[in-house]
Amino acid sequence: MKSGEPDAGELLGASVPHLVPERVVEVASAQAGRPVAGYVLAVEGSFALRLAGDVERFPERIRAPVGVGPEIIPEALPQLRALVIDRVGPSTLWPMVVRDRVMGFLLARDRPGVDLEAFAGQAALALELASGYTDALHAVRRRKDTQPAAEIQQNLLPPRLARVEGAEVAGGVLPGYDVGGDFFDYAGNADGLWLVVADATGKGNSAAALSSLAIGALRAARRAGAGLQEAARLADEAILTLDMQLYLTAVLGSWDANGHRLRWINCGHPTPLILHANGRVDELDGDRTYPLGIRFSERAFPVLSAQVAPGDRLLLYSDGVSERRTTDGSRIGENGLRAILAALGPCSAATTVRGLQDAVIDASPHALRDDATMLVIAPTTDTPTGHAHARAARHG
Protein backbone atom coordinates (compact mmCIF):
# COMPACT_ATOMS: atom_id res chain seq x y z
CA MET A 1 0.00 0.00 0.00
CA LYS A 2 1.25 3.44 -0.88
CA SER A 3 1.99 5.92 1.88
CA GLY A 4 -0.88 8.34 2.34
CA GLU A 5 -3.57 5.70 1.90
CA PRO A 6 -5.32 5.23 5.22
CA ASP A 7 -5.30 1.73 6.71
CA ALA A 8 -8.27 -0.03 8.29
CA GLY A 9 -7.69 1.53 11.71
CA GLU A 10 -7.61 5.01 10.27
CA LEU A 11 -10.71 4.41 8.15
CA LEU A 12 -12.56 3.22 11.23
CA GLY A 13 -11.18 5.86 13.56
CA ALA A 14 -11.99 8.79 11.27
CA SER A 15 -15.71 8.02 11.00
CA VAL A 16 -18.64 6.87 13.08
CA PRO A 17 -19.45 3.25 12.14
CA HIS A 18 -22.40 3.90 9.81
CA LEU A 19 -20.33 6.38 7.78
CA VAL A 20 -17.40 4.02 7.16
CA PRO A 21 -18.82 2.92 3.75
CA GLU A 22 -19.02 6.58 2.63
CA ARG A 23 -15.53 7.22 3.93
CA VAL A 24 -14.18 4.20 2.01
CA VAL A 25 -15.54 5.38 -1.36
CA GLU A 26 -14.44 8.95 -0.64
CA VAL A 27 -10.83 7.87 -0.06
CA ALA A 28 -10.94 5.42 -2.99
CA SER A 29 -12.35 8.10 -5.32
CA ALA A 30 -9.61 10.52 -4.29
CA GLN A 31 -6.96 7.85 -4.94
CA ALA A 32 -8.42 6.88 -8.30
CA GLY A 33 -9.08 10.44 -9.39
CA ARG A 34 -12.62 9.46 -10.39
CA PRO A 35 -15.80 8.17 -8.72
CA VAL A 36 -15.52 4.77 -7.03
CA ALA A 37 -18.44 2.78 -5.59
CA GLY A 38 -18.51 0.02 -2.99
CA TYR A 39 -20.65 -3.10 -3.39
CA VAL A 40 -21.56 -6.01 -1.13
CA LEU A 41 -23.46 -9.22 -1.91
CA ALA A 42 -27.05 -9.97 -0.88
CA VAL A 43 -27.44 -12.61 1.85
CA GLU A 44 -28.50 -15.22 -0.70
CA GLY A 45 -25.41 -14.53 -2.82
CA SER A 46 -27.10 -13.71 -6.13
CA PHE A 47 -26.94 -9.89 -6.39
CA ALA A 48 -24.28 -7.23 -5.86
CA LEU A 49 -25.84 -4.29 -4.03
CA ARG A 50 -24.43 -0.78 -3.89
CA LEU A 51 -23.18 0.02 -0.40
CA ALA A 52 -21.87 3.52 -1.16
CA GLY A 53 -21.11 5.60 -4.24
CA ASP A 54 -22.69 7.95 -6.75
CA VAL A 55 -26.28 6.83 -7.43
CA GLU A 56 -26.19 8.42 -10.92
CA ARG A 57 -23.09 6.53 -12.06
CA PHE A 58 -23.44 3.14 -10.35
CA PRO A 59 -26.51 0.88 -10.40
CA GLU A 60 -28.15 -0.05 -7.11
CA ARG A 61 -28.05 -3.76 -7.92
CA ILE A 62 -26.24 -5.98 -10.36
CA ARG A 63 -27.39 -9.56 -10.86
CA ALA A 64 -24.38 -11.71 -9.95
CA PRO A 65 -24.99 -15.30 -8.78
CA VAL A 66 -21.40 -15.66 -7.60
CA GLY A 67 -21.79 -15.97 -3.83
CA VAL A 68 -22.32 -18.43 -1.06
CA GLY A 69 -24.34 -16.31 1.31
CA PRO A 70 -22.96 -12.76 1.16
CA GLU A 71 -19.45 -13.96 0.32
CA ILE A 72 -18.09 -13.98 -3.21
CA ILE A 73 -16.54 -17.27 -4.39
CA PRO A 74 -12.92 -16.36 -5.23
CA GLU A 75 -12.83 -18.43 -8.42
CA ALA A 76 -16.04 -16.73 -9.59
CA LEU A 77 -14.34 -13.31 -9.73
CA PRO A 78 -13.82 -13.48 -13.53
CA GLN A 79 -17.54 -14.23 -13.91
CA LEU A 80 -18.38 -11.33 -11.57
CA ARG A 81 -16.15 -8.97 -13.60
CA ALA A 82 -17.89 -10.03 -16.82
CA LEU A 83 -21.36 -9.50 -15.29
CA VAL A 84 -20.39 -6.06 -13.95
CA ILE A 85 -18.87 -4.91 -17.27
CA ASP A 86 -21.93 -6.22 -19.05
CA ARG A 87 -24.11 -4.04 -16.84
CA VAL A 88 -22.11 -0.84 -16.32
CA GLY A 89 -19.68 -0.86 -19.26
CA PRO A 90 -15.87 -0.79 -19.15
CA SER A 91 -14.84 -0.71 -15.50
CA THR A 92 -12.28 -1.90 -13.00
CA LEU A 93 -13.16 -4.04 -10.00
CA TRP A 94 -11.04 -4.58 -6.87
CA PRO A 95 -12.27 -7.34 -4.55
CA MET A 96 -12.49 -6.45 -0.87
CA VAL A 97 -10.87 -9.43 0.87
CA VAL A 98 -10.60 -10.24 4.58
CA ARG A 99 -8.43 -13.33 4.96
CA ASP A 100 -10.14 -15.57 2.34
CA ARG A 101 -13.47 -13.82 2.45
CA VAL A 102 -14.29 -11.70 -0.54
CA MET A 103 -16.94 -9.60 1.18
CA GLY A 104 -17.53 -7.08 -1.62
CA PHE A 105 -15.72 -4.98 -4.20
CA LEU A 106 -14.77 -1.46 -5.15
CA LEU A 107 -15.76 -0.40 -8.64
CA ALA A 108 -14.51 2.41 -10.90
CA ARG A 109 -15.44 3.12 -14.49
CA ASP A 110 -12.81 2.56 -17.17
CA ARG A 111 -9.24 1.91 -16.14
CA PRO A 112 -7.83 4.31 -13.56
CA GLY A 113 -4.05 4.69 -13.44
CA VAL A 114 -3.85 3.47 -9.85
CA ASP A 115 -4.27 0.05 -8.30
CA LEU A 116 -6.64 0.04 -5.31
CA GLU A 117 -6.07 -3.64 -4.44
CA ALA A 118 -4.23 -2.99 -1.17
CA PHE A 119 -6.64 -0.24 -0.17
CA ALA A 120 -9.59 -2.56 -0.91
CA GLY A 121 -8.13 -5.01 1.64
CA GLN A 122 -7.96 -2.29 4.30
CA ALA A 123 -11.47 -1.15 3.36
CA ALA A 124 -12.74 -4.73 3.78
CA LEU A 125 -11.28 -4.95 7.27
CA ALA A 126 -12.71 -1.58 8.28
CA LEU A 127 -16.16 -2.47 6.92
CA GLU A 128 -16.23 -5.88 8.61
CA LEU A 129 -15.27 -4.32 11.93
CA ALA A 130 -17.71 -1.42 11.52
CA SER A 131 -20.59 -3.83 10.77
CA GLY A 132 -20.45 -5.00 14.37
CA TYR A 133 -21.61 -1.52 15.44
CA THR A 134 -24.11 -0.56 12.76
CA ASP A 135 -26.83 -2.00 10.52
CA ALA A 136 -25.37 -0.12 7.53
CA LEU A 137 -23.96 -3.26 5.85
CA HIS A 138 -26.58 -5.72 7.12
CA ALA A 139 -29.43 -3.57 5.77
CA VAL A 140 -27.90 -3.25 2.28
CA ARG A 141 -27.31 -7.02 2.10
CA ARG A 142 -31.02 -7.72 2.56
CA ARG A 143 -32.92 -7.28 -0.69
CA LYS A 144 -36.21 -8.21 0.95
CA ASP A 145 -37.82 -8.04 4.36
CA THR A 146 -36.32 -10.78 6.50
CA GLN A 147 -38.44 -12.86 8.88
CA PRO A 148 -37.28 -12.95 12.52
CA ALA A 149 -36.40 -16.66 12.32
CA ALA A 150 -34.28 -16.08 9.21
CA GLU A 151 -32.59 -13.07 10.84
CA ILE A 152 -31.62 -15.27 13.80
CA GLN A 153 -30.36 -17.90 11.37
CA GLN A 154 -28.18 -15.39 9.51
CA ASN A 155 -26.62 -14.34 12.80
CA LEU A 156 -25.96 -17.92 13.93
CA LEU A 157 -23.97 -18.89 10.88
CA PRO A 158 -20.17 -18.79 10.76
CA PRO A 159 -18.35 -17.40 7.68
CA ARG A 160 -19.65 -19.27 4.61
CA LEU A 161 -16.24 -19.83 3.02
CA ALA A 162 -13.09 -20.63 4.93
CA ARG A 163 -9.76 -22.34 4.84
CA VAL A 164 -8.88 -24.30 7.95
CA GLU A 165 -5.96 -26.62 8.59
CA GLY A 166 -5.84 -29.03 5.66
CA ALA A 167 -9.22 -28.24 4.15
CA GLU A 168 -11.53 -25.79 2.43
CA VAL A 169 -14.93 -25.33 4.03
CA ALA A 170 -18.06 -23.94 2.40
CA GLY A 171 -21.55 -23.81 3.82
CA GLY A 172 -24.82 -22.24 2.78
CA VAL A 173 -28.47 -21.98 3.78
CA LEU A 174 -31.34 -21.15 1.43
CA PRO A 175 -33.69 -19.30 1.14
CA GLY A 176 -32.19 -16.84 3.64
CA TYR A 177 -35.07 -14.35 4.02
CA ASP A 178 -37.67 -16.65 5.54
CA VAL A 179 -38.31 -20.19 6.86
CA GLY A 180 -35.39 -20.70 9.31
CA GLY A 181 -34.64 -23.63 11.59
CA ASP A 182 -31.61 -25.15 9.84
CA PHE A 183 -28.06 -24.27 10.66
CA PHE A 184 -24.53 -25.35 9.98
CA ASP A 185 -21.50 -24.61 12.09
CA TYR A 186 -17.81 -25.38 12.11
CA ALA A 187 -14.67 -24.42 13.95
CA GLY A 188 -11.06 -25.03 12.95
CA ASN A 189 -9.40 -25.97 16.24
CA ALA A 190 -6.09 -27.43 17.30
CA ASP A 191 -7.75 -30.84 17.81
CA GLY A 192 -9.35 -30.79 14.36
CA LEU A 193 -12.25 -29.37 12.42
CA TRP A 194 -15.61 -29.49 14.20
CA LEU A 195 -18.68 -29.56 12.01
CA VAL A 196 -22.40 -29.77 12.33
CA VAL A 197 -25.46 -29.51 10.10
CA ALA A 198 -28.82 -29.50 11.87
CA ASP A 199 -32.52 -29.15 11.14
CA ALA A 200 -35.13 -28.24 13.76
CA THR A 201 -38.65 -29.62 13.36
CA GLY A 202 -41.23 -27.22 12.09
CA LYS A 203 -40.48 -23.81 10.70
CA GLY A 204 -40.29 -20.22 11.75
CA ASN A 205 -40.08 -18.90 15.27
CA SER A 206 -40.19 -22.10 17.32
CA ALA A 207 -37.63 -23.75 15.01
CA ALA A 208 -35.38 -20.68 15.34
CA ALA A 209 -35.65 -20.83 19.14
CA LEU A 210 -34.73 -24.51 19.13
CA SER A 211 -31.82 -24.01 16.72
CA SER A 212 -30.44 -21.09 18.75
CA LEU A 213 -30.43 -23.18 21.90
CA ALA A 214 -28.89 -26.18 20.15
CA ILE A 215 -26.07 -24.21 18.57
CA GLY A 216 -25.42 -22.57 21.93
CA ALA A 217 -25.22 -25.95 23.64
CA LEU A 218 -22.93 -27.39 20.97
CA ARG A 219 -20.57 -24.41 20.96
CA ALA A 220 -20.45 -24.30 24.75
CA ALA A 221 -19.63 -28.02 24.86
CA ARG A 222 -16.96 -27.65 22.18
CA ARG A 223 -15.36 -24.67 23.89
CA ALA A 224 -15.32 -26.54 27.20
CA GLY A 225 -13.31 -29.33 25.55
CA ALA A 226 -16.14 -31.88 25.28
CA GLY A 227 -15.95 -34.78 22.82
CA LEU A 228 -18.59 -35.52 20.20
CA GLN A 229 -20.71 -37.78 22.41
CA GLU A 230 -20.65 -35.35 25.32
CA ALA A 231 -21.58 -32.45 23.01
CA ALA A 232 -24.51 -34.47 21.60
CA ARG A 233 -25.67 -35.39 25.09
CA LEU A 234 -25.56 -31.76 26.28
CA ALA A 235 -27.49 -30.51 23.24
CA ASP A 236 -30.06 -33.30 23.73
CA GLU A 237 -30.54 -32.34 27.38
CA ALA A 238 -30.78 -28.63 26.57
CA ILE A 239 -33.55 -29.25 24.02
CA LEU A 240 -35.43 -31.54 26.43
CA THR A 241 -35.54 -28.75 29.04
CA LEU A 242 -37.55 -26.62 26.59
CA ASP A 243 -40.40 -29.14 26.84
CA MET A 244 -41.67 -27.92 23.45
CA GLN A 245 -42.17 -31.34 21.80
CA LEU A 246 -39.71 -30.25 19.15
CA TYR A 247 -36.62 -32.05 18.06
CA LEU A 248 -33.48 -31.49 16.05
CA THR A 249 -31.87 -33.80 13.52
CA ALA A 250 -28.13 -33.32 13.25
CA VAL A 251 -24.83 -34.70 12.09
CA LEU A 252 -21.99 -33.73 14.43
CA GLY A 253 -18.48 -34.51 13.38
CA SER A 254 -14.83 -33.80 13.78
CA TRP A 255 -12.19 -34.21 11.10
CA ASP A 256 -8.50 -34.61 11.74
CA ALA A 257 -6.27 -32.88 9.17
CA ASN A 258 -3.31 -35.19 9.82
CA GLY A 259 -4.92 -38.62 9.62
CA HIS A 260 -7.81 -37.38 7.37
CA ARG A 261 -10.14 -39.25 9.70
CA LEU A 262 -13.74 -38.13 10.07
CA ARG A 263 -15.60 -39.20 13.19
CA TRP A 264 -19.29 -38.38 13.39
CA ILE A 265 -22.60 -39.01 15.09
CA ASN A 266 -25.82 -39.08 13.07
CA CYS A 267 -28.89 -38.06 15.09
CA GLY A 268 -31.72 -38.85 12.67
CA HIS A 269 -30.31 -36.70 9.87
CA PRO A 270 -29.90 -37.37 6.12
CA THR A 271 -26.83 -39.53 5.51
CA PRO A 272 -23.64 -37.56 4.68
CA LEU A 273 -22.19 -38.16 1.23
CA ILE A 274 -18.60 -38.45 0.16
CA LEU A 275 -17.65 -37.46 -3.38
CA HIS A 276 -14.49 -39.19 -4.50
CA ALA A 277 -12.00 -37.75 -6.98
CA ASN A 278 -13.03 -40.39 -9.54
CA GLY A 279 -16.65 -39.17 -9.43
CA ARG A 280 -18.02 -41.98 -7.27
CA VAL A 281 -20.49 -40.87 -4.59
CA ASP A 282 -20.74 -42.97 -1.42
CA GLU A 283 -23.12 -42.70 1.50
CA LEU A 284 -21.53 -42.44 4.91
CA ASP A 285 -24.10 -44.77 6.40
CA GLY A 286 -23.92 -46.71 9.62
CA ASP A 287 -25.48 -46.91 13.04
CA ARG A 288 -27.56 -43.85 13.73
CA THR A 289 -29.59 -42.64 16.67
CA TYR A 290 -32.88 -40.75 16.72
CA PRO A 291 -33.00 -36.92 16.76
CA LEU A 292 -31.89 -34.74 19.67
CA GLY A 293 -34.60 -33.66 22.09
CA ILE A 294 -36.44 -36.98 22.23
CA ARG A 295 -36.15 -39.43 25.10
CA PHE A 296 -37.35 -43.02 24.85
CA SER A 297 -35.03 -44.53 27.40
CA GLU A 298 -31.31 -44.27 28.13
CA ARG A 299 -29.83 -43.36 24.80
CA ALA A 300 -26.45 -43.89 23.20
CA PHE A 301 -24.65 -41.81 20.59
CA PRO A 302 -22.77 -44.21 18.32
CA VAL A 303 -19.65 -42.68 16.76
CA LEU A 304 -18.89 -43.63 13.16
CA SER A 305 -15.62 -43.16 11.35
CA ALA A 306 -14.36 -42.85 7.75
CA GLN A 307 -11.45 -41.46 5.74
CA VAL A 308 -12.00 -38.13 3.98
CA ALA A 309 -8.75 -37.47 2.15
CA PRO A 310 -7.45 -34.87 -0.34
CA GLY A 311 -9.42 -35.24 -3.57
CA ASP A 312 -12.58 -36.21 -1.68
CA ARG A 313 -15.37 -33.85 -0.76
CA LEU A 314 -17.63 -34.43 2.21
CA LEU A 315 -21.21 -33.19 1.92
CA LEU A 316 -23.53 -32.74 4.89
CA TYR A 317 -27.00 -31.50 3.95
CA SER A 318 -30.53 -31.11 5.23
CA ASP A 319 -33.68 -32.69 3.83
CA GLY A 320 -34.71 -29.34 2.32
CA VAL A 321 -32.22 -30.19 -0.44
CA SER A 322 -33.43 -33.71 -1.24
CA GLU A 323 -37.10 -32.91 -0.63
CA ARG A 324 -37.11 -29.78 -2.79
CA ARG A 325 -40.10 -30.02 -5.10
CA THR A 326 -39.37 -30.05 -8.81
CA THR A 327 -41.39 -28.53 -11.67
CA ASP A 328 -43.00 -31.90 -12.47
CA GLY A 329 -44.37 -32.15 -8.91
CA SER A 330 -41.92 -34.77 -7.68
CA ARG A 331 -38.88 -34.18 -5.42
CA ILE A 332 -35.15 -33.93 -6.10
CA GLY A 333 -34.67 -37.03 -3.96
CA GLU A 334 -31.48 -38.76 -2.87
CA ASN A 335 -30.84 -40.07 -6.39
CA GLY A 336 -31.44 -36.64 -7.88
CA LEU A 337 -28.92 -35.18 -5.47
CA ARG A 338 -26.32 -37.73 -6.58
CA ALA A 339 -27.03 -36.83 -10.21
CA ILE A 340 -26.54 -33.12 -9.46
CA LEU A 341 -23.22 -33.85 -7.76
CA ALA A 342 -22.08 -36.02 -10.67
CA ALA A 343 -22.97 -33.23 -13.12
CA LEU A 344 -20.97 -30.67 -11.11
CA GLY A 345 -17.79 -32.68 -11.52
CA PRO A 346 -14.61 -31.90 -9.62
CA CYS A 347 -14.63 -28.37 -8.19
CA SER A 348 -13.88 -26.46 -5.00
CA ALA A 349 -15.97 -26.65 -1.81
CA ALA A 350 -17.43 -23.20 -2.54
CA THR A 351 -18.32 -24.04 -6.14
CA THR A 352 -19.88 -27.33 -5.00
CA VAL A 353 -22.15 -25.46 -2.58
CA ARG A 354 -23.06 -22.81 -5.16
CA GLY A 355 -23.74 -25.49 -7.81
CA LEU A 356 -26.01 -27.40 -5.41
CA GLN A 357 -27.81 -24.20 -4.48
CA ASP A 358 -28.37 -23.32 -8.15
CA ALA A 359 -29.79 -26.81 -8.75
CA VAL A 360 -32.12 -26.45 -5.75
CA ILE A 361 -33.29 -22.99 -6.84
CA ASP A 362 -33.70 -24.02 -10.49
CA ALA A 363 -35.62 -27.23 -9.65
CA SER A 364 -38.85 -25.24 -9.67
CA PRO A 365 -39.98 -21.66 -10.28
CA HIS A 366 -41.65 -21.73 -6.86
CA ALA A 367 -40.10 -20.43 -3.66
CA LEU A 368 -38.44 -22.88 -1.29
CA ARG A 369 -40.82 -24.14 1.40
CA ASP A 370 -38.09 -25.47 3.65
CA ASP A 371 -34.52 -24.52 4.41
CA ALA A 372 -31.96 -26.18 2.14
CA THR A 373 -28.63 -26.36 3.94
CA MET A 374 -25.29 -27.77 2.85
CA LEU A 375 -21.80 -27.91 4.23
CA VAL A 376 -18.88 -29.14 2.12
CA ILE A 377 -15.42 -30.01 3.40
CA ALA A 378 -12.71 -30.44 0.77
CA PRO A 379 -9.35 -31.64 2.16
CA THR A 380 -6.40 -30.05 0.39
CA THR A 381 -2.84 -31.25 -0.06
CA ASP A 382 -1.23 -27.91 0.78
CA THR A 383 -0.96 -26.55 4.29
CA PRO A 384 -2.88 -23.39 5.16
CA THR A 385 0.31 -21.48 6.00
CA GLY A 386 1.52 -22.03 2.44
CA HIS A 387 -0.94 -19.56 0.97
CA ALA A 388 0.68 -16.27 0.02
CA HIS A 389 -2.41 -14.18 0.49
CA ALA A 390 -3.03 -15.66 3.92
CA ARG A 391 0.42 -14.47 4.94
CA ALA A 392 -0.28 -11.08 3.43
CA ALA A 393 -3.54 -10.84 5.36
CA ARG A 394 -1.85 -11.72 8.61
CA HIS A 395 0.95 -9.21 8.18
CA GLY A 396 -1.00 -6.60 6.24
Binding site: G202, R288, Y290, D319, D328, R369
Partner: protein
Protein backbone atom coordinates in the same frame (compact mmCIF):
# COMPACT_ATOMS: atom_id res chain seq x y z
CA UNK B 1 -47.97 -26.80 -9.98
CA UNK B 2 -48.98 -30.42 -10.09
CA UNK B 3 -49.18 -31.89 -6.63
CA UNK B 4 -50.75 -35.05 -5.39
CA UNK B 5 -53.98 -34.48 -3.54
CA UNK B 6 -53.53 -35.25 0.12
CA UNK B 7 -56.47 -36.55 2.06
CA UNK B 8 -57.28 -37.88 5.50
CA UNK B 9 -60.28 -39.86 6.70
CA UNK B 10 -61.06 -41.41 10.06
CA UNK B 11 -63.14 -44.54 10.57
CA UNK B 12 -63.91 -46.55 13.71
CA UNK B 13 -63.58 -50.33 13.65
CA UNK B 14 -63.76 -52.61 16.70
CA UNK B 15 -63.30 -49.57 19.00
CA UNK B 16 -60.11 -48.64 17.12
CA UNK B 17 -59.83 -45.27 15.35
CA UNK B 18 -58.25 -45.78 11.94
CA UNK B 19 -56.79 -42.60 10.45
CA UNK B 20 -56.15 -43.17 6.75
CA UNK B 21 -53.80 -40.75 5.05
CA UNK B 22 -52.97 -40.41 1.36
CA UNK B 23 -50.68 -38.23 -0.74
CA UNK B 24 -47.59 -36.59 0.69
CA UNK B 25 -47.42 -36.20 4.46
CA UNK B 26 -45.55 -32.88 4.42
CA UNK B 27 -45.88 -29.60 6.30
CA UNK B 28 -48.95 -28.44 4.33
CA UNK B 29 -50.71 -31.77 4.80
CA UNK B 30 -49.83 -31.90 8.51
CA UNK B 31 -51.71 -28.64 9.09
CA UNK B 32 -54.84 -30.37 7.74
CA UNK B 33 -54.14 -33.73 9.39
CA UNK B 34 -53.41 -32.37 12.88
CA UNK B 35 -57.05 -31.57 13.85
CA UNK B 36 -58.24 -34.95 12.50
CA UNK B 37 -55.55 -36.78 14.42
CA UNK B 38 -56.21 -34.77 17.58
CA UNK B 39 -59.90 -35.67 17.38
CA UNK B 40 -58.94 -39.36 17.20
CA UNK B 41 -56.54 -38.93 20.13
CA UNK B 42 -59.26 -37.28 22.22
CA UNK B 43 -61.87 -39.89 21.28
CA UNK B 44 -62.68 -42.84 23.51
CA UNK B 45 -61.13 -45.29 21.01
CA UNK B 46 -58.98 -47.86 22.81
CA UNK B 47 -56.28 -47.73 20.14
CA UNK B 48 -55.32 -45.77 17.05
CA UNK B 49 -54.08 -47.08 13.73
CA UNK B 50 -52.49 -44.60 11.37
CA UNK B 51 -52.60 -46.01 7.86
CA UNK B 52 -49.91 -44.61 5.59
CA UNK B 53 -50.26 -47.31 2.88
CA UNK B 54 -51.35 -44.69 0.30
CA UNK B 55 -48.75 -42.13 1.34
CA UNK B 56 -45.96 -41.48 -1.17
CA UNK B 57 -43.62 -39.47 1.07
CA UNK B 58 -43.31 -38.44 4.72
CA UNK B 59 -41.19 -35.41 5.60
CA UNK B 60 -39.86 -34.17 8.95
CA UNK B 61 -43.16 -32.40 9.76
CA UNK B 62 -44.99 -35.70 9.31
CA UNK B 63 -42.51 -37.49 11.53
CA UNK B 64 -42.94 -34.85 14.26
CA UNK B 65 -46.74 -35.16 14.12
CA UNK B 66 -46.67 -38.97 14.41
CA UNK B 67 -44.05 -38.86 17.14
CA UNK B 68 -46.18 -36.49 19.21
CA UNK B 69 -49.24 -38.72 18.68
CA UNK B 70 -47.21 -41.67 19.94
CA UNK B 71 -46.09 -39.76 23.03
CA UNK B 72 -49.65 -38.63 23.76
CA UNK B 73 -51.02 -42.19 23.53
CA UNK B 74 -48.12 -43.58 25.51
CA UNK B 75 -48.97 -41.18 28.36
CA UNK B 76 -52.61 -42.28 28.36
CA UNK B 77 -51.71 -45.97 28.17
CA UNK B 78 -53.37 -46.54 24.80
CA UNK B 79 -51.89 -48.31 21.81
CA UNK B 80 -50.74 -46.92 18.50
CA UNK B 81 -49.89 -48.84 15.34
CA UNK B 82 -48.55 -47.25 12.16
CA UNK B 83 -49.00 -49.01 8.81
CA UNK B 84 -46.20 -47.87 6.53
CA UNK B 85 -44.80 -49.91 3.64
CA UNK B 86 -41.08 -50.15 2.96
CA UNK B 87 -39.60 -47.84 0.34
CA UNK B 88 -40.26 -44.15 -0.11
CA UNK B 89 -42.84 -43.62 2.69
CA UNK B 90 -40.68 -45.54 5.18
CA UNK B 91 -37.52 -43.62 4.29
CA UNK B 92 -38.05 -40.68 6.70
CA UNK B 93 -38.60 -43.12 9.59
CA UNK B 94 -35.37 -44.92 8.71
CA UNK B 95 -33.34 -41.70 8.37
CA UNK B 96 -34.54 -40.44 11.75
CA UNK B 97 -33.91 -43.89 13.28
CA UNK B 98 -37.49 -43.70 14.60
CA UNK B 99 -38.48 -46.88 12.74
CA UNK B 100 -36.90 -48.71 15.69
CA UNK B 101 -38.82 -46.67 18.29
CA UNK B 102 -42.28 -46.29 16.81
CA UNK B 103 -44.74 -49.20 16.34
CA UNK B 104 -44.20 -49.65 12.60
CA UNK B 105 -45.97 -52.27 10.50
CA UNK B 106 -45.80 -53.08 6.80
CA UNK B 107 -49.55 -53.19 6.12
CA UNK B 108 -52.87 -52.01 7.49
CA UNK B 109 -53.77 -55.64 8.24
CA UNK B 110 -50.67 -56.10 10.38
CA UNK B 111 -51.24 -52.80 12.17
CA UNK B 112 -54.83 -53.75 12.98
CA UNK B 113 -53.72 -57.18 14.19
CA UNK B 114 -51.10 -55.54 16.43
CA UNK B 115 -53.81 -53.65 18.34
CA UNK B 116 -56.03 -56.73 18.44
CA UNK B 117 -58.65 -55.48 15.96
CA UNK B 118 -59.90 -58.30 13.75
Amino acid sequence: MHEETSETTTTIFDDVAIVTVSGELDFAHCIKLAPELNAALRSSARAIVIDLEAVSLVDSSGIALLLNAFRHLDHTGRQLAIACPMGSPRRAFELTALDRQLPMHETRQEALAAVGAN
